[in-house]
């Protein structure tokens, strides 16, 4: 296999007495789609924050395209090609949808190209009708899509999605899954989700985290049969 797109080696972060992420070794190939699941507090969002440079690890390394990016500034890591849709959407409430996509696109492209990309993504994510509306006024599900579109517009090679289906209706969830599969044709993705129906719609390889560490990594079917996984979810999530 060619060198991985993303690799973490013994990645850990400690807050006082708690190790929120413990020795995580993750390996992601080009255009791979990975689902990251685990109960609340497993360290999934924290892992994402480490990958984007919002948090500095206390141990371990992060390698993107073979280069060590551990401890780099957030904006520097974003420039290398990692984009993230955060758990609680981070958006510009006072700006329009169009402006979000344009800002994301304009950083890497010229003005004309940025306009073209903006229109393209508006179409792709289905936000054309809302393009001039203020994002602060949109419903949660729509805000998720705006953030997804914004991340896409920056054309990062690796896209991290933290709970993209949260707060969505059934139809919206299906649409999002479709979108994720489509994006996966050209980008690598790591998706954190609690909604198991959604996970099943998109999953190939699934990594299960528990108490900061990786419990098991396997295909969806194997995960469903794994008794250890069932144990950590026991009593927390009925329909796995």
């Amino acid at each position: 296999m060619t060198s991985p797109l993303l690799q973490t080696v013994g990645l850990s972060i400690r807050f006082g007495g708690v190790e929120a992420v413990r020795g995580v070794n993750l390996c992601l190939g080009e255009r791979e789609l990975r689902c990251l699941i685990g109960p609340n507090g497993a360290g999934k969002s924290t892992l994402f924050k480490l990958l984007t440079g919002q948090l500095r690890p206390t141990a371990g390394r992060i390698l993107f395209r073979g280069e060590d990016v551990t401890g780099d500034h957030t904006h520097a890591i974003a420039r290398r090609g990692i984009g993230i849709k955060t758990q609680v959407p981070n958006l510009f409430d006072g700006l329009t949808v169009r402006e979000h996509l344009w800002l994301a696109a304009r950083r890497t492209s010229s003005r004309q190209r940025a306009d073209a990309i903006t229109d393209e993504i508006l179409e792709r994510v289905g936000l054309r009708a809302l393009s001039d509306g203020l994002v602060g006024r949109l419903s949660h599900g729509l805000r998720q899509w705006v953030e997804l579109g914004t991340v896409l517009a920056g054309d990062p090679e690796l896209i991290l999605l933290d709970e993209p289906a949260a707060g969505m209706t059934h139809d919206e969830v299906a649409r999002t899954a479709e979108l994720v599969r489509e994006i996966n044709r050209t980008h690598a993705l790591i998706v954190v989700e609690h909604d198991m129906k959604f996970v099943r719609m998109i999953a190939r390889t699934v990594t299960v985290m528990h108490q900061g560490g990786v419990l098991v990594e396997d295909t969806m079917d194997q995960i469903l049969k794994n008794s250890a996984v069932r144990d950590i979810y026991l009593g927390k999530h009925g329909g796995i």
């Binding site: 169009r98 940025a114 914004t150 920056g154």
Partner: protein, 335 residues
Amino acid sequence: MNRRWVSPGIIVTAAATVAVGVGAPLVVDQFQLLQLTVFATMCILALSLGVVWGYGGILCFGQSAFFGLGAYTYAVTAVNLGESTVAIVLSVVVPAVFAALLGYFMFYGRLSDVYLGVITLSVTLIFFNLANSTAGDAYRIGAARLNGFNGMPSLPTFNVPGNPGRLLDPTETFYLVMALLLIVYGGLHALLASHFGRVVVAVRENETRCELLGYDVRLHKLLIFTVGGAIAGLAGSLFANWGAFVSPNVFSLATTSQIIIWVIVGGLGTLVGPIIGCVIMQYLATELGTQQLANTSLIFGIIFLAFVLLVPRGIVPSLGVVRARLSAARARRTA
């Protein structure tokens, strides 16, 4: 992206500025012309805070620090060189450099809102104290004595570049200041419509998201803060020229409060707001200054309180809200 950033509002404001600039010398007397000149100077100062605070989201409570630095830089340079051109240039550059240094400490140190306000306020107050204590012969820069609380009188006023003997008369000075106001207003709008300007506004909205998109937030804040400092410095030189005098009052609490009042009254988030707020408050101050009924600080304090408690958005945005509500109500009625 919206190429047509020149909105109707901008055109109206620009036209009004040109109209006043061209028409005023024809209809008002010398005294009133001088009044208008200082009003326009203060509008430039108001714009500097309007862009830094309203668009950049940076709580700078010490904008008078850059204003005063510009004024004093002009004074010292003009006295030493006997010519105004270099002095004007330096009055923009020196405050800009200081703003950049201060900005570096604040933004790269990740200081947040409230702390920024207090630190910048403290900076101008400390300048005030410093300037006040420079009385006496020992305190001079080149040939220029700083004179402490007495201030520096009889400053060389603006001359035609390269011709120190040919000073600008009041009408020419008025034209110059109005032209600069127009240039600063238009220039800022152009800057805000540029890629850089849009990022600055986005930083104000959500710093995290900006960083996650790959923009260096600290640098953008630093740059817009520096721009604000430069513009305030320019206003400082215009002010020093206007009275041919500069004193530590340019750094005072009163001065920096006034700038903030202009922006609050006019409204955060527009460029025309601070101009309107400035003109209204300047006019009121002049009228109030001539009457003995009540102390100016007292009245300003009440206005400050009234606006914050009752009209927190300021005049212009509030008018915008009123307009939006009226049109929404109209739409509902016709639906």
